[in-house]
Amino acid sequence: MPDAAVFQGLSWNPVEDLRALFVYPFMVDALAAGTIVAVLAGVVGWFMTLRRQTFAGHTLALIAFPGAAAAALAGVPAGVGYFGFCGLGALGLAGIGGTGRRQGAETAAIGTLQAFALGLGFLFVRLYHGLLTDLDSLLFGTFLGITRGQVGVLLAVAAVALALVAVAARPLLFSSLDPAAARAAGVPVRVLNAGFLLVLGLTVAETSQITGALLVFALLVTPAATAHELTSRPWLGICLSVAAALAVTWLGLALAYFSIYPVGFYVTSLSFALYVGVRVAKSLGVRRRAALAVATARS
């Protein structure tokens, strides 16, 4: 934590507060990492919500936890565990699920995989005899321990994942919206599904290093859901999703910096508030927009 003699807390001068955010290198690294993660989660989350794979995404997110615990146990860097387990988990999910409508038996398989992975993670933590605070930060994230090297790795992985999404964007969109028609048109739907799950695994592995395994979902699903509420146009939707994720991450990090409560709480609460706000505004705005349309048509 910052030294009390230097650290002034929140003043009423916004410019001064903003400057205070960038005084410490750890905070600059955290903001950089948060930005990378938010952009990636915004894009991939948009596709995830479109494809109705929220449950699979959530399960992958939780698989990050045994990954990190196994890495700690084996004495290798946490990133190796995150990426290894999430990659394996993505392949497993691709093996379980067809691309059709989700039905009972398939969700049971995903749920079983999820619970088993979490049980495994608990076992690893037990074997490691680690401190309980370690468990908390694995599950709920920390932004204090992010190093410059980690930011570099995050950037590289995010670039790869975003490039993959960009290359496959059109067929992915097509096969997400209408799998049957896409298959008929010769799009490799199954391969795309497996590929997308792998990218999702990469994203989750990245994101959970900041938000923790349990809170990844807030960045993946909520900004994307907000964007889907606002527009049905794909590119605009992706931009909105990224913007929402960025805003929530920056504000969450700033708030956590000036208070004693964890960053995960702020990020989840802000994104949920945004989602609820948009939905409420939308239901209120429908009437007004109709009246406005009539007024402009007359003038």
């Binding site: 049971a108 088993f116 076992l123």
Partner: protein, 289 residues
Amino acid sequence: MLAHEFMRNALVAGSFVGVACGLVGYFVVLRAQVFAGDALGHVAFTGALAAVAAGVDLRVGLFVATIGAALALGALGNRARVDDVVIGSFFAWTLGLGVLFLSIFTTGSSAGDGTAGVHALFGSILGLGTRDVVVAAVLALLACAVLLVIARPLLFASLDPLVAAARGLPVRLLGVVFLAVLGLVAAEASQAVGALLLLGLIAAPAGAAHRLTSSPYRGLALSASLSLVSVWLGLALAYAVPTLPPSTAIVAVAAAIYLAAFVTRRRDAGATLVGRRWARQHEPSSSGA
């Protein structure tokens, strides 16, 4: 193994929890509401920590939170089936709240140790006292009784909601009551196997039962007994291997059972057997309607 009192308590409480999870899980899988069950597990975590942070009995928070959330999910949803995205956004925030309570609790009380959060997440079946066992048994019996009473109409409403509604069944009300029972069982199970692992006990035995039989009542019985076997074998394993946490062992056995069922009956991964049998039997009537 039976000479220890904590082991006896764990076995008795675990058996009741196991049967309740198996029964409710069968319907959860049939209705494709595993994700809702998952969400309720996370709500259980937040409820428990809120109670601990507020200094009241942990169980009060558990039951109020899960049953309240189940009713809210039922009220929000169309025909008591809620959109995955809504559930996801909602419980991401719930978990965030849970973290807040955890940090309030750990920073607020200097005497408080950090184990409350771990217990809420991963369960503490070996720490149950005799009173906990009685409470667990009563609540599990209550949940089972409600489920068995509504089993027939619920089965109908789950398999074919439109026809059931046309025949005058209160489909929506059934869905809400079912979610409330699910909330009760989730709160119950989170004490035994923990908020994060209860999904294994709800989804795995039921998923296996759905793969093995297409008869609903045989499926219910099979699901309950597989769940019971998971609890017993898991506890025995954890007793034999002290480093193995009991909740991990229970979930691992349940997952192994599911895997065995998956491998022996590897058919179409999507539909449940009951659903397909229903569709086969009612094909002419549904296409004519």
